[in-house]
Symmetry: C2
Subunit: 505 residues, 2 copies
Amino acid sequence: MTRKGHRERRKAGAIRQLPWQQVRNPYAPVEVLSADQVEAIVGAALTILETTGFRFLREESRKLVESAGAEPANGRGMTRLGRDLVMAKLALAPTQFALRARNRARDLVIGGNHIVFAAVGGPAFVSDLDKGRRPGNYAEMCDYFRLIQSLNIIHQECGGCFEPMDLPPESRHLDLYLAQHTLLDKSAQAYPLGRERTADCLEMTAISFGISREALTENPAVVGIINTNSPMQIDIPMAEAVHELAGANQVCCITPFTLAGSMSPATLAGTLAQQTAEVLAVVTLAQLVREGAPVIYGAFASNVDMQSGAPALGTPEYAKMAMASGQLARRLGLPFRSSSTTTANVADAQSAYESQMSLWGAVMGHANLVVHAAGWLEGGLTASLEKLVIDAEMLQMMAETLKPIVVSDEELALDTIAEVPPGGHHFGTAHTLARYESAFYTPIVSNRQNFESWQEQGSVDTLTRANGLWKQLLADYEKPPIDPATEEALTDYVERRKAEIAGRQ
Amino acid sequence: MTRKGHRERRKAGAIRQLPWQQVRNPYAPVEVLSADQVEAIVGAALTILETTGFRFLREESRKLVESAGAEPANGRGMTRLGRDLVMAKLALAPTQFALRARNRARDLVIGGNHIVFAAVGGPAFVSDLDKGRRPGNYAEMCDYFRLIQSLNIIHQECGGCFEPMDLPPESRHLDLYLAQHTLLDKSAQAYPLGRERTADCLEMTAISFGISREALTENPAVVGIINTNSPMQIDIPMAEAVHELAGANQVCCITPFTLAGSMSPATLAGTLAQQTAEVLAVVTLAQLVREGAPVIYGAFASNVDMQSGAPALGTPEYAKMAMASGQLARRLGLPFRSSSTTTANVADAQSAYESQMSLWGAVMGHANLVVHAAGWLEGGLTASLEKLVIDAEMLQMMAETLKPIVVSDEELALDTIAEVPPGGHHFGTAHTLARYESAFYTPIVSNRQNFESWQEQGSVDTLTRANGLWKQLLADYEKPPIDPATEEALTDYVERRKAEIAGRQ
């Protein structure tokens, strides 16, 4: 660990954690599809766009795509996109780009072998062991943000960990952005539901960075999750966000919501083909809005439970499609987004093994952005405080797993092996003592006591330990420095916009 | 699912599970070491054996190795093994072999891209939610065996799921073998602690198969876990087992117990080098006992917790060393054994994410045998009934993840994608309806209810659901058919041997 790492660790209080770091995957991706299969799926996606088409519900988007040569398709308001058009526009999208944060030391890279872990985004509820599951309020959202700031392994806030239900829906995005830019200094996503909410994000990001809107377009800083309304359409608010983001050279993370058997065919190949078609349709739109606009191939392909029709997450199908989606994204030259997911209603064994299934699928598939990587519960309906801590442990473990093994004379330690007698022990060797502090990963929430000690101390399970940990992290939280003039400018912007919105109603 | 699969499923009662299957990993292994690093570690292992040597505590073993050209090394009773000797003997070991089970439909293959999942072996305790953690007895061991038989995804019993403490230690292995051959028809491991216990296993296996001891040597059927006493020695009972097993053409799964920082250097490279040296020393012995005797490169490399000195399992280091060990084993041309491990004291989130870390490391590292794959808790001190069910779920999920994606016109489903309107749904299409029953993995213990339904039904967590499931599996258990004459011959053997053992004392 570097000197800097030690300092950062201490800043987070008594809880020892890994220093802030950009994570990279140095290993080759796991390929679950053959090269021929990848071509067949991409070919199928292009055929879908060319023959069936895609529906842009927003007229301005549809007209823009049609002005480039796409044609109205059928009575369903769909537009056919020829493969030459799609491939030409796809070629304009960057394969990798930097992402600016308020604190430049927290800048990120999206693409290549980089992995960004984003916290949970979008739930309706918050939950913890003390108060159970309930609609969240703004104060609770701010506390959740403080934890996201405190946990070094989380790189990005995901556009709202849950809805602050005590605030009016038409302006709560402004309070969200204010909290992002004052409580966090990390990368933060937009709440890209419609033109205004997206534009407010861009304005406030420029204020927060102390730069003009014009200067903001020089570097991507804002990611918006653009969910298509699978199958095969994009609605008006999402299309507006594409125009705002791409127009400002910001990032559209285009993520079809394809649950096989419900929003896509009950097969993995069909789901992957449809997902790819939907991504390509919106990539085409984004590149027509602005050539070279950064886009991400987003995958959220899972399946329904065929007995109940309920969403099934963290499944084997999910892990396999994550790895396959990574192959498809790389074939198309786009960064790849995946997620960590579970359907569990409590942070128990199921929640952990489903999240691990998704996480390993994402990481082995070389995801560049893992959304919902910490805090997600109940198929995304709840942000759990305990799960946030447990997931942070899993993310740290993954980051350590991706740290390459060093093979050198010193690490091979043949002299030490020769020194210790057969059946002896390595505890006291100079080689071991020199590495005592930092040889191996130190967990946050995992317990390594033997059964008797663990029982004596109350047989506390992981969920309960996590409850104590988030409270300690919250007590230790320190607000990252911000220029008071910047904070005032952000507050002024929020007040002015709230007045505007109120005046309109 | 095949017709046979359906029949097998029904046999296991009302609990739906995957049919019995040999699992294969069709994907390329994850390589965490470069080719140069692999060579450096193998070279270091050969240097350790050549310069420091290895201690064979059993004189007969030491003399056998020295008769082949190895030399006494130093005042510590070690023997130096030259690299030519080691590599020549290594070359005799098969890279893959079949493993016979009592029910030939349960025969296994060890090597290549095959994966065998073995249940937990060796704990001192048993635990469940009802009675907590306690020393187990024979009746409880038999119930645990019934569950191992009932869970299709478990391929092999691991030489005793826990010690039956109500039976005398000098003869309880006989009761164990009797239970293996009457309650199970799956592959079963030996309890290879010394010559007699191993020989009894071979005798009873021959009786169970209805073949002579001579005929038994024609095909491997028995695996014995041979733990070295790391660092760098093998004790007398384990060496006796090597002579018995290898002499009968049965399988030595040579597994150093290298916790980095305690039984090996506090570095991953040093631990891997020492592990490889220890495996190669015992491979040399086994091949001197009988040319071509089947052996497995066993890895149990983890690390100690550097704060407490306690074993740390399911760690990032564990996962990384599992993948590295797979590379080393393949370089040496040997099948590879890994494990699923955790230090958790209860089947909670930690137990699941640590087991998943190990399992993904093992599977991505192309382990051919995953020991302790179901039931392990407390760093291996306890066999848990609930964890057995939870692990079986994780193993099933892994088996499904390894089932390749089919890409065909029918699976791509372009006609169906064209048929469903934009924003519509796939629930009712002919394509979906045709796949309703078997499109996706159906879990055993995972819950996919929404929060409200789950809460109405008592907010039952995974641990508690697993408790209900093992009880149901036990109620549904059916003893696999056995020729009464065979069962009688096994019982007679046990009685005769018990009388012999009692007479000696």
